[in-house]
């Protein structure tokens, strides 16, 4: 399963993506959770102790002149699967975590790791690995190549005017660049059934899951704890579990 979460900043991408990856990790062997947001937050929601799992500079090399492809690639002899074994941090439930890289001041280094990151995501054998991506917030970045790996793009939408407007823009952009097999909305912070209808109508997307407003989840987020560790029985976690089940049925 290859899933990417997009949405307006603060819509709940990381919390849902982190929980989704952990649930997937409990039932499957290989899950790679990837944070391609330069303002990374997925580690906290996954419960990975390190919030920094970048691809080191020495894993990347410049392509030889005349060689086809992007300017940088993984160093010769290093496969995507080996790079994951080596550089991804192992978190709870066996989920591997890889980060595109924080802004550390040097943009050149970031550009190198960006190509390596995308190569790993593109070349990791799809039969062995499930991929869960927490994409950059907002509308500009997610569809500049970050979402290509995903069969399913999930737009996380709050029932608020700004989130709904962002969702419509994201839906448009997702279809314009590299249309995924499925483009679906996840209604988040739902307080009443009418919220789900609102998300369906105003986003123009089929709503595949409704995650309720959940005070216990909000408390876990405030404390910087992964929902799966702090509140595994929370209604919001149960809703993410049903999302996973629905996607599984859709995939099979």
């Amino acid at each position: 399963m290859r899933v990417a979460f997009v949405g307006k900043g603060g819509a709940g991408k990381s919390a849902i993506a982190g929980t989704f990856a952990r649930l997937l990790g409990r039932s499957r062997d290989h899950v790679l959770a990837i944070d391609s947001d330069p303002m990374p937050g997925l580690a906290l929601s996954l419960g990975v102790p390190s919030s920094d799992a970048p691809i080191p500079d020495e894993a990347v090399e410049e392509r030889a002149e005349g060689e086809q492809g992007p300017r940088y690639r993984l160093r010769a002899g290093l496969s995507a699967a080996e790079a994951v074994q080596r550089y991804a941090v192992e978190g709870p439930d066996g989920v591997r975590f890889l980060q595109f890289g924080k802004l550390r001041g040097h943009v050149a280094t970031l550009a190198r790791s960006q190509f390596a990151f995308r190569q790993i995501v593109a070349e990791l054998p799809a039969d062995d690995w499930s991929l869960v991506g927490d994409l950059p917030g907002g509308t500009r970045q997610p569809f500049f190549g970050w979402a290509r790996f995903a069969q399913t793009v999930l737009v996380v939408v709050e029932p608020t005017a700004k989130s709904l407007l962002s969702a419509r823009r994201l839906a448009r952009l997702a279809l314009a660049e590299h249309p995924p097999e499925a483009l679906l909305a996840v209604a988040n912070k739902v307080r009443e059934p009418a919220d789900v209808d609102l998300v369906a109508q105003r986003s123009g997307l089929p709503v595949v899951a409704a995650v309720p407003w959940d005070e216990s989840l909000a408390a876990a987020e405030r404390a910087g704890r992964a929902p799966m560790d702090a509140v595994p029985d929370a209604p919001a976690v149960a809703a993410v579990a049903s999302l996973l089940e629905r996607l599984r049925k859709g995939c099979s």
Partner: protein, 103 residues
Amino acid sequence: MRVAVVGKGGSGKTTTSAVIARTLARRGLRVVALDCDTNPNLGISLGLGDEETERLAAMRDELDAGDAEHAPSWDELIDRFGSDGPDGVRLAVVSRIQNPEPG
């Protein structure tokens, strides 16, 4: 007075900016609200509505698509890419010209 509001996604930048802008305008100041976000939603929080917010965003997008010329000066920028909202706040969408490489 010149104020910039920054923060993590969802922390309340847009709402805070809109309340500051309208409060200043109600006190009689001339206020220009600049939406520098690549996902521009300030129009909604200022009270211009969905449609007008989208119209301004679309106009900004035409620049990236190469379908429109950029304004050569700040006052023309505010004029061409802006719209008047409640309390007389002038909103303009002025996010940075797009560089198709992320990061």
